[in-house]
Amino acid sequence: MSDVMEFEGNKDNISTKAYLEEAVSQPEISSLASVASHHSAPGSQPLGTGLEARGVHAWFGKHHALADVNLDFPAGTVTALIGPSGCGKSTFLRTLNRMHEFIPGAAMAGEVLLDGKDIYEPGTDVTKIRLKVGMVFQKPNPFPSMTIAENVLSGLKLAQLKTTNKDDLLEECLHRAGLWNEVKDRLKAHGGSLSGGQQQRLCIARALAVKPEVLLMDEPCSALDPGSTLKIEETVRQLIESVIVVIVTHNMQQAARVSDYTGFFLSDGGPGQLIETAPTSEIFSRPKDPRTEAYVTGRFG
């Protein structure tokens, strides 16, 4: 807990929004396939650089999975999303880089602002959005047909980006992902030849290589041993200088160790909702909502 307190100091000056607003009037469902056609609210003030979710709802067909999530992710912070299984954490995460729309029948409403611009605005180049908002998945998924080096640089090829110095980028990303020392002698080996923890860090390196502004991580450590988990947590803490990190986790200690802010999601039969969000130390020491308290103290039934 002590390192959480350390981060406290630089949080105070960050404006906090009123998160638990009254539910907005019935939002319009925008079909993602044909790109949402809603307009950004007039007079909406971007908070500068950062990512912000405003009134986000999500549906799978008729199933309303997520209701009215308002949450912002200021630059230089790590936000943890916690909550019981099925409450919509992954769904929310996937609305933040437009991966939600891959599911047939998926729909969303609301706005996701990246640097003040709605990523669902018609005419937005969705591949550019996904470049700026990278993602690390629960299960490590390196490309098995590529070598370690090719994996790290795969984003350049996939997004058709040009770099002048690939070797430097490769080394830099592997350093930042905390993997360089382990793989520097076998960059030509296949991605699948690494251990699970190494593969996950390879995926982080891969996500970093396209220089994202935001990195979304969906339970990145759930398949890993404690040692690899700690390494990844260290990595995350080092990333905040350049990327906003949003991490979904079922591990309270992990949330406490890595995050500056924590959001608690819950679904009471209906759609999942954001119950409470606050600086991480507050969520764990003096949560405002009794349901949050029940969950973080393990008395959740």
Binding site: T127, M135, N141, P144, Q160, A207, V210
Partner: protein
């Protein structure tokens, strides 16, 4: 168990135990049925080979290896003292040339169609079109052959001329005389129509099995559909495509009708695919069977045996390719 500090005496090491697995009755019955089925097909294959071999043994005794390498088919004229010469070299070459032409045309079309079906088609159309393709793969290929013969062939001559005009400098697209009808190219084109459904169907099946997490990983890195396909789908599918292609090649080599309808038998090797000459082992057997004498009949049996063995080899090779690519690819 105490930890041994020294190597145990020989007499202390127990003999390996026999591990006996007692199977349930249903398991044993099923095993029996499956094994029997497997053996029956093997036996049938063996019998066919044996039959062909016994009928053609005299041919190989008389003509030896020349039966495969000779470019001449002449039953001779005993009255005038002309000895018979039977050789299927040209037909074997023709078989391979037409089949390869067919595959070269069919493969890109099939893979393209499979990709389109799997990744570009709107979901609703995709289901019904997939069904249509799978059904087409089950239709006897002679139907497509007839369509190709009546509908496609008239256009194909024009395409052949076009190809020759612009790519005639490539040796195998050159012609010795400007006769473009009834060429291996046209036969191959019809063959390609016949094998496109099956190759498409297999490729699509493979593409539909690409792990979703890899596809999502690519998209999450800002991939477009096409760059995702290049980085994820094609490497994953390469072994399946290779297998489908080989199956198509095997089918094309065994196809009689297309080549029989299109090509006039010509017992000289012809590598100029646009030129009007060629043939294949299968079409030769069909063409000659009706009016064959005793010796020629044996020759046709021998030709059948050769085709049988070549097809087996192709299948064997395709298996090896599939195994090798699947080891490195995934």
């Amino acid at each position: 168990m105490s930890t041994p500090t020294s190597v145990p005496l020989q007499s202390e090491i127990p003999p390996a135990r026999a591990i006996i697995l007692t199977r349930r009755l249903s398991d044993r019955v099923f095993r029996g049925v499956v094994t029997a089925g497997g053996f029956v097909s093997l036996i049938v294959l063996g019998l066919i080979a044996l039959f062909l071999a016994s009928r053609s043994i005299d041919i190989f005794k008389t003509f030896g290896f020349g039966f495969i390498t000779e470019f001449k088919w002449d039953s001779g004229d005993p009255d005038n003292g002309i000895p018979p010469v039977l050789g299927i070299g040209a037909m074997l070459i023709g078989t391979i040339v037409t089949a390869v032409v067919g595959l070269v045309i069919a493969l890109p079309v099939s893979v393209g169609m499979a990709l389109f079906l799997e990744y570009y088609m709107p979901i609703r159309l995709k289901k019904s079109l997939t069904m249509v393709i799978d059904l087409m793969a089950a239709i006897p290929s002679v139907i497509f052959g007839l369509w190709g013969f009546f509908v496609l062939m008239p256009h194909a001559i024009y395409w052949a001329k076009l190809l020759h005009k612009y790519f005639g400098w490539i040796p195998f697209l050159d012609v010795q005389a400007p006769i473009f009808e009834r060429s291996p190219f046209i036969a191959g084109l019809i063959l390609s129509i016949m094998i496109i459904p099956i190759v498409t169907s297999i490729s699509r099946e493979v593409f539909s099995q690409v792990p979703l997490d890899r596809i999502q990983a690519a998209y999450a890195l800002g991939a477009t559909r096409w760059t995702m396909i290049k980085a994820v789908v094609l490497p994953f599918g390469s072994s399946g495509i290779a297998g489908g292609a080989m199956l198509g090649l095997g089918r094309a080599m065994g196809e009689t009708v297309a080549v029989y309808l299109v090509l006039n038998l010509y017992f000289q090797p012809n590598f100029q695919v646009l030129f009007s000459a060629g043939g294949s082992v299968a079409s030769m057997i069909v063409t000659k069977f009706g009016e064959a004498g005793q010796l020629e009949l044996q020759g046709l049996m021998a030709a059948g045996l050769v085709l049988f063995i070549v097809t087996l080899i192709i299948n064997f090779l395709s298996n090896m390719i599939v195994k090798r690519t699947s080891r490195t690819g995934n």
